[in-house]
Amino acid sequence: MSILIDKNTKVLVQGVTGNIGTTQTRYMLKEGTNIVAGVTPGKGGLKVEDVPVFDTVEEAVNNFPIDVSLLFVPARVAKDSVLEAIDAGIKTMVLITEHTPVHDVMEMKAYALQKKTLLIGPTTPGIITPGECKIGILPANMFSPGPVGIISRSGTLAYEVAANLCAIGIGQSTVVGMGADRVAGTNLVDILRLFNQDNETKVVVVVGEIGGTQEEDAAEYIKEKMNKPVIAYIAGASVPPGKRMGHAGAIIEGGKGSAKSKIQALLAAGAKVANRLYEIPSLAKELIS
């Protein structure tokens, strides 16, 4: 088992004909990902790496069963593309695109919630269930199958944590990049819940960072519901606070958001906190045995 994706997952790639879409489709096919179709408006009828391209998501859905749509579209059309996928009935979307306007993300998130669909990202590296399926840009050589679930707000830190675990022989059930933007389509807690129900996942690593209150919310969930051990790491303890204009940001976070606040909340919830990245593998080893 794993969460979200496995070897049977059928994938659509929106923005498949662009440079990044094409390169990454090739990498994913090499890892055995079952990419059944692609979409680029105006490029219907083409093929990318033998994958048929359609003009609309609806046409793709009419021709193939599709579980997940992966999006490599430009930021200015990200909202349009995500809404299109939701309206075509796709239940999980992975939005790789960086620099999507946050007002667009708010609308996508609200619409996804309303339609009971899952939007991972934007600015996510994607999801990998090592050895079975990779949906996104994660370099597959950093991962191997095993019992640790990873949820990371940062893409590159997900790679580093997985690679460090692999170095001492510990693989991963599924690794999920949450996306690093101000607003994420899906929050840490939502993915924590999925790992909690997954029998194959023995330990979960949460890689957080300063800003926002997702880690504090995750701590609450860990305290009340989590039935397996959680290791948490927060990046950015030594980052000086930015120049702040206006008061609204400080008021809304209400004293949360700093590395200190997050670490305190996670410790109080019973999570093991790694103060530095390199402590994660030994903590995981201890908790698995």
Partner: protein, 382 residues
């Protein structure tokens, strides 16, 4: 992008929000002319992009017309928290009976706009939010719909407004929300919204911060931002790279903000090492981008070494390596450079960098690479 108060007020005014009479002065003479046309008392406000101006002498009230140019001259020459003012806003002083706080921002976790209202407006609003959070009323808004006046009334009533003032404040909030949405605001704020003795309402300080990712929808503001940037800064922004100056002795280039922060934390663990900068490349690495990144880092004073930490997921790190090598070759650099680069096409990347003398760490742990850097520089952990 943070707008100056005078720029924000221009926009607020366009949406029908009342601003006190006055204008922007670039010289003491202009300040005096404006004061003459609106009459004293006036408030002079330094136009710098820092918070808490009032507490560091950036806001002055002048009662005597003859003193306006003298005070203005001094204020125009005074840097606030290290920033030179772009000008002075000269506004008619309004008499204050009541100060209200109005703010709109995004709740990051739920991903929805939140309107905040308090009867305790003014410079101490953050203190109020810590000590008396019950005095700040919050109203979440559905981002899929417009905000309608009826949705706001009961929240505004909670701060004790009635009659005309209630109706007018509701209108102002609806307008402010419209600005927030139409200008892709991260924060829009009026603090204070002043109610005068004769029951008029004025916006006395305006804050508007706009989402940089949405500047393509606001070409005029985008142009303004770009005009203020150097060619290299423009190229970095276009590729999505982020640079912050930090004044330490280790130059830093990382692909990814999380990785950059974690790397900073490890480097800063050594008492005699600290990062000279934060530089996150984003997902658009090219050879040229890396040339710009290297040159920017090399401009930092008192550099003892450069530390590079890259992952090749979406980023073609083998291309990035060519840019790094080019700068090293052309400038005949002899500053120690330690690089960890893993992912797609890592072997080519290593080869390119090793050829120009970069110390390559092939293990996955950033910590090991930082330890190598420390050893190279002969510094010890605490």
């Amino acid at each position: 992008m943070r707008l100056h108060e005078y720029e924000a007020e221009e926009i607020f005014s366009k949406y029908g929000i009342n601003i006190p009479l006055g204008g922007l002065a670039k010289t003491p003479q202009e300040a005096k002319q404006i004061a003459e046309s609106i009459d004293v008392p006036v408030v002079l406000k330094s136009q710098v992009l820092v918070g808490g101006r009032g507490k560091v002498g950036g806001v002055k009230i002048v009662d005597n017309l003859d003193e306006v140019d003298i005070v203005a001259d001094k204020m125009l020459k005074t840097e606030l928290k290290g920033y030179k003012p772009e000008g002075l806003l000269v506004l008619k002083k309004v008499d204050i009976k009541k100060e209200i706080y109005l703010g709109i921002t995004i709740d990051r976790t739920s991903g929805i706009p939140i309107i905040m209202i308090s009867s305790e407006g003014g410079i101490n609003i953050e203190e109020v939010s810590r000590k008396n959070p019950e005095k700040i009323f919050k109203l979440p808004v559905n981002p899929l719909q417009n905000l309608h006046p009826y949705q706001v009334i009961s929240t505004v009533k909670k701060i004790g407004l009635t009659g005309e003032l209630l109706a007018e404040t509701v209108n102002i909030i609806v307008k402010l929300y419209k600005i927030f949405r139409e200008y892709d605001g991260l924060i829009t704020e009026i603090n204070p919204l002043v109610i005068t003795g004769d029951e008029k309402i004025f916006c006395v300080d305006a804050v508007l911060e706009i989402d940089d990712s949405a500047l393509f929808r606001h070409p005029e503001l985008n142009k303004k931002k770009l005009d203020a940037m150097s060619g290299r800064d423009k190229r970095l922004m276009k590729k999505g790279a982020t640079f912050v100056k930090l004044n330490g002795n280790i130059g830093l280039i990382c692909s990814g903000a999380g990785l950059a922060m974690a790397t900073m934390d490890m480097i800063n663990d050594y008492p005699s090492l600290s990062t000279a900068n934060f530089l996150e490349t984003g997902g658009g690495i090219t050879s040229d981008l890396m040339v710009d990144c290297m040159e920017l880092v090399l401009e930092q004073p008192k550099l003892d070494a450069i530390f590079i930490n890259l992952y090749g997921g979406i980023n073609p790190i083998h291309e990035g390596a060519k840019g790094i090598a080019k700068v090293i070759r052309e400038r005949k650099l002899d500053i120690p450079i330690v690089a960890k680069a893993l992912g797609n096409r890592q072997e080519e990347t290593w080869e390119t960098l090793e050829e120009v003398g970069v110390h390559i760490i092939k293990e996955s742990e950033t910590q090991k690479a930082v330890e190598f850097l420390a050893k190279l520089l002969g510094v010890k952990a605490k």
